[in-house]
Symmetry: C2
Subunit: 189 residues, 2 copies
Amino acid sequence: MKQEGRKQEIVNAAAILFKEKGYSAVTMRDLATAMGIKAASLYNHIQSKQEILSTIIIELAEEFTHGMNQIVDSDSSSIQKLENIISLHIDVTLRNADGLASLNNDWMHLEEDNLLYFEKMRQDYEDNFRQIVKKGVEMNEIKSNNIEIIVFSTLSTLRTLYLWYPKQKNIDANILKKDMIFVLLQGVV
Amino acid sequence: MKQEGRKQEIVNAAAILFKEKGYSAVTMRDLATAMGIKAASLYNHIQSKQEILSTIIIELAEEFTHGMNQIVDSDSSSIQKLENIISLHIDVTLRNADGLASLNNDWMHLEEDNLLYFEKMRQDYEDNFRQIVKKGVEMNEIKSNNIEIIVFSTLSTLRTLYLWYPKQKNIDANILKKDMIFVLLQGVV
DNA sequence: CAACAAAACTAACAATTGTTAGTTTCATAC
DNA sequence: GTATGAAACTAACAATTGTTAGTTTTGTTG
């Protein structure tokens, strides 16, 4: 709790600011002010502004990747897998809604290595998603004319959860999951 | 065609750059390079960087507001109105996908007056949307447990169209409308 | 060709950016 | 009470930012 404490505090504060104005518009002085210290003092805990961004994004992306891999490897039905994906998104969103803003809007400001790493994870994630839907259609679990639109509209909604969820007060995670599954899969099943 | 020609070219080029890196990360020198001129030369045609952003966003927001007002004032059924909203989003997206990136991601960088104006338009738009769904539920046209989730998930998908549509090749607007209406309303009706 | 306006240019500005170097503060351990 | 390490500070840097002023180029019109 104290080990990585100060760095994590900075990263958390940064995530909030990045969510409000975006990575590029937030200065190290803004961040320092939010932390109640001077800009130079931040560098006792972090290496660079870029490191803050990559810490936020890569950690989250790996969380999604790991969750998706578990779902893919399971032998659930396609519908069950889609439900688990929805559940995964809700879990991650409730745990770190601020960070998801950076993942969604500021990933392009990652530098070379992390950018490539992130883009690969995102591509794989989408491919896995698409494969699950495709399999579901083949197995007659999912009825659909247009797989691409299903994938796109579902992912759009899940990715935007981070904006919507904080505006709902005291919403229970399990009720939210049930409702989201109902709305997103009703037109599909 | 020539009057506002050069300014519109700049605005269009800016919209593409803003889409790629966001408003704050695009410099006037970036924009000038994209136009094949020097940064200072831009100011023969525009007043400020901020003016470019507000031109892009306010124009689009008014387009949505106008379209929504027409739909609200019509005496169509609730379902018909939802279909018209979907159609509106697709029309605007096909016409100006680049600008929609700024509207979605950089509206918070508008300054005071335009910011308030934009926020009001967005709020009204959402309220109108919500009212239409609510009315549909009351009239038993729409079956739903959770109006908020319907509004949120539908709007999320429509707002993200600008990212998805350019990746589909040669997609016909009318086919897209039909498919989107099918996917978005199937679970609702 | 002369005149004129549109649109480009060069040069520079004041402010802000991320970051570094070197120093001071302060609590804890010996 | 002195030593240690973490974490703050002051001061400054080189680069980049949006923008302005003043000048030159370009193309069209009489």
